[in-house]
Amino acid sequence: MRQKVLQLVLPAVALTATMTGCAILHHAQVGDIDNRKGVAHRPFELKVSETGVNMEEAGDIAKSLSRSKQANKDIENALGIIGLFQMGPKTGNPVFNDGYAKNIVNDLYRECPSGRITNVVSIREMRKYPGISGEIVKITGTCTGDRKVRGKGGAKASSNEQAKDTENL
């Protein structure tokens, strides 16, 4: 009885762990931070992703499913040839669309038309599943507006503050 329960529970746990997907961080970068009071901040998050394929793992799965020795040998040969084309340094698994992250600049512009972006954290990560992966680029940050609090001098006070900021930088 106990063995039967274990036989059911263990594959279920393994399946859940596999389907959740392990998260692997490849690169994290923090940009300049504006923490001044009186500046309007609107947080945003952008994420783009593409499916990556791990040929080695996909081959192992294919081999475990095939029953003939000849088929296994063919798969191994094919993997060897594919491997020759995938040499070199890389982060994550190869993807079939290399331009998946190029529109993130436009998305950023759409999210913050003023272009005043601060607190930017850029993350390149990967969600790993058997044979495939999600290759992710995530950018979080805050869109900064004009100063909410102005001195008695109005625009004059603001330009003085800006001059002070420029001096400091």
Binding site: C22, I24, G31, N35, V121
Partner: protein, 106 residues
């Protein structure tokens, strides 16, 4: 016999020490523009222990900016150096991201 036992113990001790120390590898480094005023240096770091490679999210990185902000109230942080490191131990490893910058008060 006695000597063999002593050597065994010493080797075991050495192996344990090496394991406990951990090997560090640098994943990535980035730097933003460094300001002229560099009086107030602030540092914040965030980390996560990963056992047997099982890690289901990287949300620990999100806390980093908040930690940096806490150290520079009402100011700007410029010249941020971000280091992403991995320290490996026996069957576990620690991922840590450290950010160091200069706080410029408004």
């Amino acid at each position: 016999m006695q000597l063999a036992k002593r050597i065994k113990k010493t080797l075991l001790g050495c192996a344990l020490m090496i394991n406990a120390a951990g090997c560090v590898s640098l994943q990535s480094v980035s730097l933003t523009q460094i300001p002229a005023k560099r009086d107030n240096k602030v540092t914040a770091s965030t980390d996560k222990w990963i056992i047997l490679g099982f890690n289901f999210d990287n949300d620990y990185v999100d806390k980093l900016t908040e930690k940096l902000k806490d150290k520079c109230e009402n100011g700007q942080i410029r010249g941020i150096l971000t280091k992403d490191e991995t320290t490996s131990y026996f069957l576990v490893f620690k991922r840590s991201v450290t950010a160091t910058g200069y706080c410029i008060k408004a």
